[in-house]
Amino acid sequence: MLEAIGLGSLDELFQQIPASVRLERPLDLPEGVSEMEIVSDLRQLAGKNRHADDLVCFAGGGAYDHFVPAVVWALAGRSEFYTSYTPYQPELSQGVLQALFEYQSMICELTAMEVSNASLYDGATALAEAVNLSRTSPGRDRVLVSAAVDPRYVETLRTYGRGAGYEPEIFEVVQGRGGSPEVGEDVACVIVQHPNAYGLLEPARELFGLAHAGGARAIQIFDPLSLGVLAPPGDLRADIAVAEGQCLGNHLNFGGPYLGIIATRLDDVRGLPGRIVGETLDVDGQTGYVLTLQAREQHIRREKATSNICTNQTLMAIAATVYLAWLGPEGLAELGRRCVSKAAYAAERLADVPGVEPLFGGEPFFKEFPLRLPRPASEVLDGLIERGFLGGVPLEDADGHALLVAVTERRTREEIDGLALALKEVLA
């Protein structure tokens, strides 16, 4: 092939690179290896981890051990989906496009919101995008955040805010929830997580009422799998709803790839970040799908785009679509009831352990709840790991003597009883 283009050596192909910047030595990397070797290298690394198949997982705090049915990755894992690019050539991308259209539709159904995009990176960055979407009226710049919002989300907001020009302001909560944000004319949005970072249910209607009374947008961070039993963001009158969609058929994956969900009102569609799929017709009048409203996006609008996002989390959105099709309305409701019942049972059993008590009072929760421990949570967790349990995630409250315990539909009574027993042993 070199000959065919009239060259004598590969080096000639790289002649434009000035000698002064050429790398004249091999990269300081190991030599390439065979497939067999890379597999055993990675098996070895994986073997140094404990994981949710080998420990009973009560950890949550933004990522949950919900069941992933086999259909999800049997389908989302088909190579026509996962080896394709962003559907810029719609005629060859109807599979991805239609799946995303279905995703958008299901997110709307789930949230009772009017419009969804086709995914963002994850829950935390989706929140940052929601804030940008809310900060469009001049003079309305401030961002109020409940103290019961996941600290990781707040930290992410703080980072993004440095560029966007805001500093998230925290408003206090009482016994882990509620609070009374003062929503003045300079406030762009009020952010509430419901269920919140303690797992507790918020008086979301009231908080959103305060936001609206002050003319600000209400942003809710929701848990998609709570929406079989909890009133959805649309019914609570949230203006923008964002979520971490990992729970919808995506694996724990040590934190990613996850799925950023954002949904809002139709009024705001032109402010939405990221890709949106729309239905249309082909020249024969047959239904088809395309990326639409691209004038919002960076590749058309450049510095005026609503966001810089380009590559998103399409495959996770497809997985979520398959998962929701598998779950259906009854499944969603039943799964929600399971979480509620199992978490309630676990809270009771764990609070029976001597020295353990609820972090706050008897606030309602969904699938996760906070406990106060007589010893630092991180120590206790180590003891639980020795006994085969990933017992929760530590909270910074109560000087680190607090533990957040998540109970999904996967956890059995036996496992919950086992955790209570192990906790008793560890604390004995």
């Binding site: 990269l27 990675l42 058309i300 969603l332």
Partner: protein, 495 residues
Amino acid sequence: MSERGIGAPVRTQDPPDRRGTIMDLSRPGRRAFSLPPLDVPEAHIAAELAREGRAALPEIAERDVVSHYTRLSQRNYGVDTGFYPLGSCSMKYNPKVAESVAQIAGFQRLHPRQPDSISQGALELLWRLERALCEITGMARATLQPPAGACGELTGLLIMRAFHAKAGSQRKRIAIPDSSHGTNPASVRLAGFEAVHVPSDARGLVDVGALEKLIDEDVAGLMLTNPNTLGLFEEEIERITAAVHRIGGLVYYDGANLNAILGRCRPGDMGFDIVHINTHKTFATPHGGGGPGAGPVGVSERLVPFLPVPRVERDEATGAFRLNEDDPDSIGRMHGFLGNFGVLVRAYAYVFLHGREGLKEVAERSVLNANYLASKVKDLFPLAYPDGRPMHEFVATARPLKERTGIRAMDIAKRVVDLGYHPSTVYFPLVVEEAMMVEPTETETRETLDAFAEALRRAYREAHEDPELLHEAPVTAPVRRLDEARAARHLKLRW
């Protein structure tokens, strides 16, 4: 049989029981899900918090879920289907072994908030990958947190901002070439800067003179890809980076085109201060139909303090790894957890499978393939900047064809679909009229390049002899040309 077209599955309708969206298949009472019997007392949500009614998700049996999405997948073209020469996208083959290792339970089933003590293998993987990416790019440390290139850009720009702030300066502007990718200016805005556009010269390279005049001490830095968006190497790169450094600015390397130079030269050695990498381009992590990707960002020594947290640190004494959750100068967190870990596992597999020589061969082969393919079509579709030697991709133009026949780059692209291939990128970069940006990648054979060249040549001939074929195209795809204007006018974004 008349040859309607070759390769792509031909446009056809599904039978009635498989037609439409998943919601069209919904029937009351059907279900796929199953749950074990409830083994604890039933508890309830208080009525005032409870959902009224139910979410109208589809009701459908597993068998039909499977058939529906299997069929949808077959209406999609992927790299596994065939050649996918989208310029700027590095649509190379994604090794299957990378998929399989990412599914090991010891990676896939790790909770992001489990203690470091039981995640040592995962942290070590991130550490080793970080070291490798730093070596490849010539950077000191890197964050693997950004989930895609655009987020990497924002990360880099926020690092610039923090760097200048730390030095007590509030620079407001970022210089970017006029041919830059849309994410560059968009990120500039998100980072709170204004974009200053740097013109290209007649060779398609940065007009260095103009640049030198354009930038001053209000400029925080410059963003650049090299090879640039036209596939050309910025030969005066050292002069460029020096100029920016001279005014106290930083230079950002958009790594979308890193594939071309792996092991041949390094952004760090050219004077770049910050580099992002698209693992879903250069390191073959699959694009997933548009994502997930990963956009690690490397920085030079002086910028290390500003990198996002959490960072993986290694205790030299014990060899143990831990997550450093805060650092006073850090710009903070760019992602809820550690970024797209599952994607990074694949990138790790790719980097260490190839190793030092293999990565260099990737660059060599990708540049060779692009040059070979360019040589086979440039008589008909001239290079936008014929003086430069393209690297891993080339930008040709259909302008002469359009002037002669009215056939546009878009028509060529659609005809190429009927001839069995995914077309190249068209109409990007914006600075080239009727642009066709072709990136064959290193994983394609000569036979494929020859056949694709012949498809382009055939479409060219047909533009003269039988233009209807091109106007009508595609006729063999699952749908024909779609009315994008209608989609935007009659917004239908859900069922």
